[in-house]
């Protein structure tokens, strides 16, 4: 692969995601940050299964040559499905938080207990 670009992209996605979760104040932006981390991890899984010049791993109608590893793709699919569930739950909680507090600023909804 050219200069390991996918791996650099993985690192960049995860770091940008962490940055968004830690430093962004808007809850929606934090949720986007988490989705970015997830995309980074998914890209990492897919990249691990890729072999240069490989084709899709369909055994029954393979023209020969190297095939990409199918397992990481299965893992990624599972991870994407889980990600969608988490995203939906987080956004629905954000809606509830907005209804209660009237704001999405993480500093205003938090605050130390009692």
């Amino acid at each position: 692969m050219i200069f390991n670009i996918p791996f650099i992209a993985v690192a960049a996605l995860i770091l940008i995601g962490l940055y968004a979760v830690i430093f962004k104040r808007n809850l929606i932006k934090m949720v986007i940050g988490i989705t970015l981390i997830e995309s980074g991890v998914n890209l990492f899984l897919i990249t691990l299964g890729y072999r240069e010049g490989s084709i899709a791993p369909i055994y029954t109608s393979s023209p020969g040559g190297i095939m990409a590893l199918p397992v990481p793709q299965a893992l990624t699919l599972t991870s994407i499905v889980i990600g969608v569930a988490v995203l939906a739950l987080m956004l629905s909680l954000v809606i509830h938080i907005y209804r209660h507090y009237g704001t999405l600023d993480v500093r205003k909804i938090g605050g130390p207990e009692e």
Binding site: I14, V21, L27, M30, I34, I37, E38, V41, F44, L45, L48, V71, P72, L75, T78, S79, I82, A85, V86, L89, M90, L93, V94, H96, I97, H100, Y101, I109, G110, E113, E114
Partner: protein, 525 residues
């Protein structure tokens, strides 16, 4: 077919059934809920009762020394990764017993506790899903499968924490919990990818047999320990825990204790089994990291508990402190694992730590149930507004005293037996550790004596004149846990010999776990 054959068949398929029964039950619950509320409650209790009996059946066989494997997918072990493997050793069975007891008690407790709420079909569905997730985490022998079950547990428990959506703080706690869990889980997935890239395997035993402790393995270890420790509520990553424990309904908090400990089980599985052969190659022991984390967790947990004024939040910080004891005990075991002069000490520390997992779940769980009972009776959680409740709620008071004595390690309760083992073994490693452990225990006692005085003693307050004892189902739930606590306290030798020691041996002799899948593996004897 006679009964013996049937039991043998059930035993053979029990690892799959233990997860399948609550999972299927979860999706049938909304349908049954359309019939009648009582029928649904009975159905959920029966489902969990069936799961519990399967767990006990499996555990009774596993504790004699057998390791059970259950293969989903290709039976041909020569083909890599085209299957999911469940592998149950004594440690998994031990954790499964804890989870299933907590879920069962929580469902019995919910019968009256959640009665006035709407949306209970979803509530029970989520509880069953969460139980299936926890049991799956504990029984699986596949790392990716572990991640999937971890996410099932996280999603359902976050929804349950935020179940009282009319309360702003509950929703907020649920959001915090899901954010923290997801970040942790994604880093776990990242380290799973690191393993897969190097060893072309997802099975824990296969990875453990091939592990080289390369640079990437070290990164994976850091990510796994940090993420799982965060999910287990280890200081300083514990802050989500008091929020979630404090704001969730009490019955949910009880199961959350089990979910936290399932993550803790993940830490031990990673350190002992996956890195079992490699962990001793390091000059800086991972065991010491666990010990230091445990000490910090203990001290900060009790210190924060002293200044809390909210009942459940206070108990939650007590629960954080208890996690510290478990880490201290098992970390000590990991430190001295390879030192032949201290093998007995190490095993005693492991036994103490593992026994304390069970004791922590029961003690903290009982206290949360009492806090829930008080909330149910008075609609009040702030300790500053409570007082004189012992006059109205006799049984609840007795249960609180039992929980108080147990959590602060007072003889003759169960907490004393496990803490004694931890004190003695850590003293041989380093006396300062056991001094700190005893000190935090004393502070825990002080914290809960304060709660006892504030909530139960004092003059009869006029506003609580009409407070009555809580309904029977809640008393039964609390009574069950209290009885188990007393039995464990009176007969610790019995419990340790039959349940705890096999679990400790299963963690120490990680070679057996690996040989069950890869018979040619030679290490870890």
């Amino acid at each position: 077919m006679n009964v013996a054959d049937l039991i043998a068949l059930l035993l053979q398929h029990s690892p799959a059934l233990i997860v399948a029964v609550p999972l299927l039950g979860a999706f049938i619950t909304p349908l049954i809920s359309r019939l009648n509320d009582k029928v649904r409650n009975v159905f959920v209790i029966l489902t969990l009762g069936l799961t519990a009996s399967l767990v006990f059946l499996l555990a009774s066989d596993v504790f004699t020394g057998n390791i059970h494997t259950y293969i989903f997918g290709s039976q041909d072990l020569a083909l890599p990764v085209v299957r999911i493997l469940f592998e149950v050793d004594a440690m998994s069975a031990f954790m499964a017993i804890i989870s299933v007891i907590l879920s069962l008690v929580a469902v019995i407790y919910s019968w009256s506790f959640m009665k006035e709420n709407t949306g209970l079909d979803k509530y029970y569905t989520l509880i069953l899903l969460m139980t299936a997730g926890m049991l799956g985490m504990e029984l699986t022998g596949d790392l990716f499968n572990f991640f999937v079950f971890l996410e099932i547990t996280s999603i359902s428990s976050a929804a349950l924490v935020a179940f009282w959506t009319n309360k702003a703080k509950s929703v907020e706690a649920g959001f915090k919990y899901i954010v923290i869990s997801t970040i942790g889980a994604l880093f776990i997935l990242f380290s799973i990818a690191l393993f897969y890239g190097q060893y072309n395997a997802l099975n824990m035993a296969m990875i453990a047999s091939a592990i080289q402790y390369t640079f990437l393995d070290k990164i994976a270890l850091v990510l796994l320990i940090a993420a799982l420790a965060m999910k287990a509520g280890v200081v300083p990553m514990h802050m989500w825990l008091p929020d979630a424990y404090g704001k969730a309904p009490s019955s949910v908090t009880l199961i959350l204790v089990g979910a936290t400990q399932a993550s803790l089980y993940g830490v031990f599985r990673v350190c002992f089994t996956i890195y079992g052969g490699a962990i001793n190659l390091t000059p800086i022991s991972v065991g010491w990291i666990l010990v230091i984390l445990g000490i910090i967790t203990m001290l900060l947990g009790v210190a924060m508990a002293i200044i809390q004024t909210d009942f459940k939040r206070l108990i939650a910080f007590g629960a954080v402190a208890e996690i510290g004891y478990i880490l201290l005990g098992i970390g000590t075991g990991l430190v001295v694992m390879l030192n032949p002069e201290m093998t007995a000490t190490g095993l005693a520390a492991m036994k103490g730590g593992i026994f304390h997992i069970m004791n922590d779940a029961l003690d903290v769980g009982l206290l949360f149930l009492v806090a829930g009972a008080i909330y149910y009776a008075t609609k009040e959680t702030s300790l500053n507004k409570l007082g004189g409740l012992a006059r109205n709620m006799k049984y609840t008071t007795v249960f609180f005293i039992i929980g108080l004595l147990a959590i602060s390690g007072m003889p003759p309760m169960n907490g004393f037996a496990s803490k004694l083992l931890i004190y003695e073994s850590t003293y041989q490693l380093n006396p300062i550790l056991s001094i700190i452990a005893i000190l935090s225990s004393i502070m825990l006692l002080a914290v809960f004596v304060k709660v006892f005085h504030a909530a139960f003693l004092g003059p009869a307050l006029p506003k609580f004149e009409n407070v009555k004892e809580v309904p029977k189902s809640m008393l039964i739930a609390m009574g069950t846990i209290a009885t188990i606590i007393i039995i464990f306290g009176l007969f610790p030798e019995l419990i340790i010999n039959n349940i705890v020691e096999p679990a400790a041996n299963a963690l120490v002799n990680y070679g057996d776990y690996i040989r069950e899948v890869i018979p040619s593996f030679a290490g870890g004897v």
